[in-house]
């Protein structure tokens, strides 16, 4: 991946933005989980959100996907190209949730209920602790994800009860689309098995396939590689690259596995204690002393000494999964 540019202003995520998080703050009672966080997700990029446990990554995800209402801040989603700063400013002043202009829509996610974010803004997500419909087959899981278009095709159920040809066609297409993603995730042979029956790695892939069935502009993955073996991890990398390349879908992911992060990310945002401590290309970030200190749990000026003493740089070896990230919090 040759995304590293010579100057910072030339980064894709600075001018071709799909999602911008601006001054996001989330408080739970007295606890500040996310504090004045701003970052961009570039269109077509794979953006990784990393940080030690408890840094607030999942909270950011829940704000973006509408499961939490942020205390403060703006989360803007764009379907069209460019920054579109003026339109977003104008939309913010109106109090509306989104500005509909053909294919070039902009959305203020912090104003939208969770299901609308998925339905209209086309932001899909997966969950840290897989949330599949366990008693339904893999195929059914993917059909549920196509609920909204199918509802329209079934003329809000009436046409479906009468089994009108229009609905029959839409249904067949939906099954084909689901089969396409089952094929891509290597699950086509398990299409008629209940999701709860699949092995762990397959469940993770099925959840991604299901998210892709809403035809998202942005796919948010919460620790997609957690619990995968090395081979599955490699397959996941390929799948994500494929999604980004062939489906015009930008990816935002939370990941602990530094191997995955460093290998596939174009852009890495590092959080610690709810605040952004680094933001840049994978190359930039992994050499940032602030990041290393956050992961090692020591002060910045001690980093060099500690690294020397343990002789095991945490994220310098990009291919090596890091266990130290887990225990990084002081």
């Amino acid at each position: 991946m040759e995304t590293a540019m010579t100057t910072t202003s030339a980064h894709n995520w600075d001018h071709n933005v799909v999602l911008s998080v601006e001054h996001l703050t989330m408080r739970f009672g007295g606890l500040v989980a996310v504090n004045d966080l701003s970052f961009n997700v570039g269109r077509g990029d794979i953006t990784a959100l990393i940080g030690p446990n408890g840094a607030g990554k999942t909270t950011v995800f829940n704000c973006v996907t509408g499961f939490y209402k942020p205390t403060e801040g703006r989360i803007a989603m764009r379907h069209g190209a460019g920054l579109q700063a003026d339109r977003i400013e104008a939309l913010t002043r109106t109090g509306r949730q989104f500005d509909d202009d053909g294919d070039n829509r902009v959305f203020l996610l912090e104003r939208m209920p969770d299901f609308e974010i998925s339905k209209r803004a086309k932001v899909a997500r997966t969950f840290q602790n897989i949330r599949l419909f366990g008693g339904m087959t893999a195929l059914e899981n993917l059909l549920v994800a196509q609920h909204n278009p199918l509802m329209i095709a079934s003329s809000m159920t009436i046409g479906g009860i009468l089994n009108l040809p229009g609905y029959r066609k839409a249904r067949a297409e939906a099954i084909d689309f689901a089969a396409y993603w089952l094929e891509k995730t290597g699950l086509i042979d398990r299409a008629d098995d209940p999701a709860a029956d699949l092995p762990y790695g397959a469940q993770r892939r099925l959840e991604i396939a299901r998210a892709m069935c809403i035809r998202p502009h942005l796919l948010c993955l919460d620790e997609p590689a957690a619990g995968l073996n090395p081979r599955e991890s490699t397959e996941l990398n390929e799948l994500l690259q494929y999604i980004r390349r062939d489906h015009d879908t930008s990816i935002l992911l939370i990941e602990h596995d530094m191997g995955v992060v460093m290998e596939i990310s174009d852009h890495v945002v590092v959080l610690d204690y709810g605040q952004k401590i680094a933001d840049g290309s994978a190359e930039d970030v992994k050499n940032d002393p602030k990041v290393i200190s956050a992961y090692l749990g020591v002060d910045e000026d001690e980093v060099a000494a500690v690294e020397e003493s343990i002789d095991m740089p945490v994220i310098h070896h990009a291919k090596k999964p890091s266990e130290n990230g887990e225990g990084g919090q002081p």
């Binding site: 739970f28 999942t58 829940n62 499961f67 939490y68 969950f127």
Partner: protein, 308 residues
């Protein structure tokens, strides 16, 4: 004002009874997360046992009323506990770890069984017991245009409120200080982990049912003394209201159950006193619906954060 105070006293008395039943619901819900639908009928069984004991004691010639009351209370607590234990053993324990709806259905089944068992063995007609404890103290005497109104606190009401308070304090201590209480709280948090750490989960749950049944028996006895009429069907409505009280107070919380019970009692009495007797149940249920919509975790319950 006098009328208001009188209603307040009446409401607190009724509320104490609801509160005692509600504790049983809340403890069971807290520990195994199920609505023990048969609990209202355990209360009914308790009142029947109390009635029979009372009559038996009178029949064998004991004349000292306090002694009779005391023995009746103990006997009904003891025997009702056996019923509570049996219901758990037969209908709930085999379904431990099963699906959520299964124990709910067996609970409804047990409720039907208990009602009909008592109806068959004791007859369907109501059992009236003449008031046993009479008299009271006049707190305030007021004069209105219609004559004098006195605010009365009867001995009966005093006994009910005092017993409830004593039991409430006793149980709070039991839960917070003893090892049984600790096991109970451990099972509430995580049954598997508690079992791994050597807590006898089955025994703890059984004891929870026994304790709930004992309190329901007290409530049943007091209901008998206060109203003087019982039948095999009193458990349903009292049970539903007590459950309402438990939910209102925040299910899983002992003080919440007591508070909820008092509130339901007060709402019912005030509604009857100022609006209409016929719609008192509607008032209690409407409050429940409103509280749940705006405060889903009840008054003293822990707010539940949706885990994503």
């Amino acid at each position: 004002m006098e009328y208001f105070l009188q209603q307040l006293i009446n409401g607190l008395t009724l509320g104490s009874i609801y509160g005692l039943i509600a504790i049983g619901y809340t403890m069971v819900y807290g520990i195994i997360g199920m609505i023990n639908f048969a609990h209202g009928d355990i209360f009914m069984v308790g009142s029947f046992i109390a009635l029979a004991t009372f009559l038996a004691l009178v029949a064998i010639g004991i004349s000292a009323l306090p002694l009779i009351l005391f023995i009746t209370l103990l006997v009904s607590m003891l025997f009702t506990s056996a019923w509570g234990w049996t219901v758990e053993r037969l209908a709930y324990r085999p379904l431990r770890g099963s699906f959520r709806l299964a124990p709910l259905i067996t609970a409804i089944g047990m409720s039907i069984v208990l009602q009909n068992f008592v109806q068959i063995t004791q007859g369907a007609r109501v059992k009236p017991l003449p008031p046993q404890i009479q008299g009271g103290v006049t707190l305030i005497e007021g004069v209105t245009e219609n004559g004098t109104i006195a605010v009365q606190l009867s001995y009966m009401q005093m006994i009910i409120i005092a017993t409830t308070l004593a039991l409430m304090i006793g149980f709070s201590l039991l839960i917070s200080k003893t090892s049984l209480g600790r096991s109970q709280r451990a099972c509430e948090q995580d049954q598997k982990m508690a079992a791994l750490l050597g807590v006898n989960v089955d025994r703890t749950i059984s004891l929870t049912f026994v304790m709930g049944a004992a309190l329901a028996a007290v409530a049943g006895f007091m209901f008998l003394l206060l109203y003087g009429v019982i039948d095999f069907y009193i458990g349903f409505l009292a049970g539903v209201k007590a459950f309402t009280a438990a939910v209102l107070g925040g299910i899983g919380s002992l003080p919440g159950a007591m508070l909820g019970g008092l509130l339901i009692g007060l709402i019912e009495v005030f509604w009857s006193g100022y609006f209409s007797v016929e719609y008192k149940d509607v008032a209690a249920f409407s409050i429940l619906v409103i509280v749940l919509i705006f405060m889903p975790s009840g008054l003293l319950g822990k707010p539940e954060v949706e885990k994503v």
